[in-house]
Symmetry: C2
Subunit: 245 residues, 2 copies
């Protein structure tokens, strides 16, 4: 508990380690108050700013949170948020899918698409379709749309290999974009079902819908990926101290 001498570990880090240890082994329980800053100063013989630096570390990691005028408390971990690392064109074990561009067109957006993209019906959009293979077998069919912009040439190489959000960002000249994704099991369009060789008359696939959004939530692009069942898995891990939303 006393601060280790002759150590290259910074003092603030030792404070953080000590407290996170106490939390992990259960001596400090969720909801409980941790020692006050001045107590920690005294215990470790360090200044308050240094103690605060350590507590800040724990706060970032989500172990604790503080209430002005009262104290700092151990956070109750949340198990309902999970983080997925989703790499387009790459599956769980890191193997790469072989993408094949099977169509690029400028079309007029039908109503449903215009709505998804936040455009007027009939507006011009670029549609492109990709079919990706894994081990010579078709694994995913992608259908992507982004507003047509004169003078924003889409290089075929890019369309073929680039991840969709990055493509959209470059095309719209935005520096920061976000992605919103929806996952479900649903029917693939007939042509996709055929190309993917989906069994059954309803052609169920794992569907990943991606909306690429600007910082102000304006939709910049929309796409849908139909994945062959079983071939495509997503793994995710809980982020117990996520603080977003």
């Amino acid at each position: 508990m006393a601060r280790a001498r002759r150590s290259f570990v910074p003092a603030y880090y030792q404070v953080a380690e000590y407290l996170s240890g106490e939390i992990e082994n259960g001596r400090l329980k969720p909801g409980e108050a941790i020692p006050s800053e001045s107590q920690l100063c005294e215990r470790y013989g360090i200044s308050r700013m240094t103690v605060r630096q350590g507590l800040n570390l724990l706060g970032e990691a989500g172990y604790i949170h503080s209430v002005p005028g009262k104290g700092s408390y151990v956070t109750v971990p949340r198990l309902d948020t999970i983080v997925i690392e989703f790499q387009e064109g790459r599956i769980e074990d890191g193997r790469r899918l072989e993408p094949q561009l099977i169509g690029v067109e400028v079309i007029e957006a039908e109503d449903w698409l215009a709505q998804k993209l936040g455009m007027a019906p009939g507006a011009k959009v670029v549609e492109f379709r990709r079919l990706s293979h894994l081990d010579e077998k078709p694994a995913a069919y992608e259908l992507k749309y982004l507003p047509y912009r004169k003078g924003a040439p889409l290089v075929e190489r890019e369309i073929r290999y680039a991840a969709f959000p990055a493509l959209v960002a470059r095309c719209c000249e935005k520096h920061l974009v976000k992605v919103r994704m929806t996952l479900y099991t649903g029917a693939a369009p007939a042509d996709a079902a055929q190309l993917l060789g989906l069994p059954g008359e309803d052609g169920l696939a794992l569907v990943l819908e991606q909306s690429v959004l600007a910082q102000d939530d304006r939709v910049l692009g929309w796409g849908s990926t139909y994945c062959v069942p079983e071939a495509y898995r997503l793994t995710a891990e809980s982020d117990p101290f996520w603080k977003g939303i």
Copy 2:
């Protein structure tokens, strides 16, 4: 750019706002260096610790990162990590599923299960099955397993309503657990397919596999949820500055 006077906004916060604004509007581009700490001190007429507090905020948010001896740089956002808020027994729009406990048994683990749970084959495990309804229609079938522990009574109320990770945590007397989840479209077991009224001979469903892990990655519980296609969707948003893994 100059620090606002007569403002109740803390100085460090103003520094952070100014810089994040510059990043968002693209005047500071990913990979570029931001002004040095001493430059910011001078510009705002504040001390270095205060500037650092502001930069720390941006660092936490993932906008910038620093390189000792060189400077701080605008981070290139990542679009390949997304965060899902997954609430067991609750769907996208917040509606609750009505759970129904349809079986609890102590069984001896078959090989595949023993492997999932990291136990010896034949070890005793508690199996329970739940069927959840949405609008009177079956929506999800859950199959969960956790090691049988003498003297750790499982209250029916809990089994029926509690989220699985929380149940496991309480049962194993662990304070901190993690969840690893895998999502895919796959075949449901025959009994599940029948109860859910899945169409087609292969009975495809959206499958959510959950492993509940201790901090040391030991498996504490394993479960699988089979969701009726289309009824169940997961939405996720990108976390452009996630720093994990």
